[in-house]
Symmetry: C2
């Protein structure tokens, strides 16, 4: 298969690149390197089936020229703003980088006759829906601009499928952690502890509980969905049954850093505006495909902490 | 109340203007007159509480200056592309005029501290969901770009509510007919019969069945929802229990035009790509508020036919 992988130098995208190449596909990575890093795709680029193009999806001319030069079978569209809290102050971040990017990719597919899209969606489309949310949950009232932009993206993917005979594989992720992650609560905790090794300030009351999915499990799940379903619009929650509280995460960071820090909670059940305090998915649909996560939420968090600390150590050497 | 009414010179917007003025509100109509007409607001503009500003919501500077010059209590956002079939060839029509307009209005509200929005949404967000669809239906996979743009608009309304303490009243309409309508199947049938009074070509097999809501009933319902609900995001289907088939509509047009035409169906269960062949809402939620439509679907369609034919007669005189 000849694949366009947007955001392929990013955290999730680069792991996906590795796996798609492993499986013998040709992969063109298109990334503006705003969140992505060349170091993430060092290994991938050693494969002759991998090509990197630096470019911005919001520049339609740049994007369309990539479509024109390649005869893609499928687009894996991973490019997006991935920092949910960021767009509270400036919603344009998500309207542009999360929604309009998707829309432009769809326009490119329409224009150049590409008939398959695999899309990175999110649990954030469900808003503050609570627990055991299945794929057919409604109403859909996202509380972050990121969630709104991903729901809006799904909506256009759906209308493009109907209008132009496209097929879609929509995979909805929870928090994802692991090697190459670029930001998030774990990063914030480590950075805070570097400044003050005696006290860790944690937003909220520590009871927020969410599933943290290991990035390599996620990649396996995305490919499983793509290979094993064949409706016009295929849509799946991807996740892990276990969950981790913010308190557990904070304690693991302190433990791994071997610090004597105490935790101070700012209080309230939300870390920030748009945060979803309690969340769990129903994963029956993806489990019925024969896939389930191998790494637990706590293990995934710990792997991520260890990776970041090792990276720091490497920098110091 | 000081109200910004976008799309206020349009079909539905102008009826809303009349009623909001009747109820003693101050109304600033903002409309680019692409689909709206000055003749629709002739009566409204005789009211000293009504002001018209010609401008384009996609021009943020123009829009923001209206926010800056007025201290609005609430925005009734009715501006949109209303021709669903049109954007099959060019999805930008809906991405711009239906979605980006909403997004810009929300940015204006954020910037100028307006805390209430009443929004014209649509049954098209439910896609080809079938019958008795209630407000909490999922999954939401619209099949037209219009439906996608309205769902995307709802998504951003929801995230703006959470992020900036805004309240929203989302009202979802089916097909709406009545005085001042500018296009749609009734128009198409009349125009076809003017060209060929002996035969009426009808897209599909005539069995498509939908509720057609009378515009004055709709306006009453929108105001009922706005005045009688007070959640952060209030959302209601608005409709009429009865429905009309395309066959009935075609027969009524022929009857009202007093023509000897026979009907020729092109076949298939969809009139055009993105058309939803069979649709009905659950209206329990709005009925529980004490509102129900006074005019049946067939009566509403007939009123609409008679209005268009009278307008034609007036033009000839």
């Amino acid at each position: 298969m000849r694949i366009l992988l947007t955001g392929g130098a990013g955290f999730i995208g680069s792991h996906l690149a590795d796996e798609l190449l492993n499986q013998g596909n040709e992969v063109v990575i298109f990334d503006n390197l705003s969140l992505g890093r060349m170091s993430n795709i060092e290994t991938a680029l050693k494969n002759p089936n991998c090509k990197f193009i630096k470019g911005d999806i919001l520049n339609k001319e740049e994007l369309f020229s990539v479509f024109a030069d390649n005869n893609f079978d499928v687009v894996f569209h991973m490019a997006a703003n991935s920092d949910i809290a960021k767009s509270h102050a400036n919603p344009d971040v998500d309207f542009g980088n999360t929604l309009t990017t998707t829309y432009n990719v769809l326009l490119g597919m329409k224009e150049y006759g590409v008939k398959s899209i695999v899309f990175a969606s999110t649990s954030a489309i469900y808003g503050d829906a609570g627990v055991s949310v299945d794929e057919d949950f409604g109403p859909l009232f996202p509380i972050s601009h990121y969630g709104a932009s991903k729901l809006a993206s799904e909506a256009f993917i759906s209308s493009f499928c109907e209008n132009y005979g496209i097929k879609a594989w929509i995979t909805r992720f929870p928090n994802v952690v692991g090697e190459r992650a670029t930001h998030g609560a774990i990063y914030d905790f480590i950075n805070k502890l570097k400044k003050n090794p005696n006290e860790l300030e944690v937003l909220g009351d520590g009871t927020q509980i969410k599933p943290y999915l290991y990035v390599k499990d996620l990649v396996e799940a995305i490919i499983t969905v793509w290979k094993n379903t064949n409706e016009q619009v295929n849509y799946f929650n991807i996740g892990v049954e276990s969950r981790t509280t913010v308190k557990e995460m904070a304690e693991m960071v302190i433990e791994e850093m071997k610090l004597p820090a105490t935790i101070r909670y700012t209080g309230g059940n939300k870390g920030w505006v748009g945060d979803v305090p309690q969340f769990s998915y129903s994963l029956d649909k993806i489990h019925n495909l024969g896939w389930s996560a191998k790494v637990s939420s706590n293990e995934a968090v710990r792997k991520s902490i260890q990776y970041i600390l090792e990276q720091d150590l490497c920098k110091q050497l």
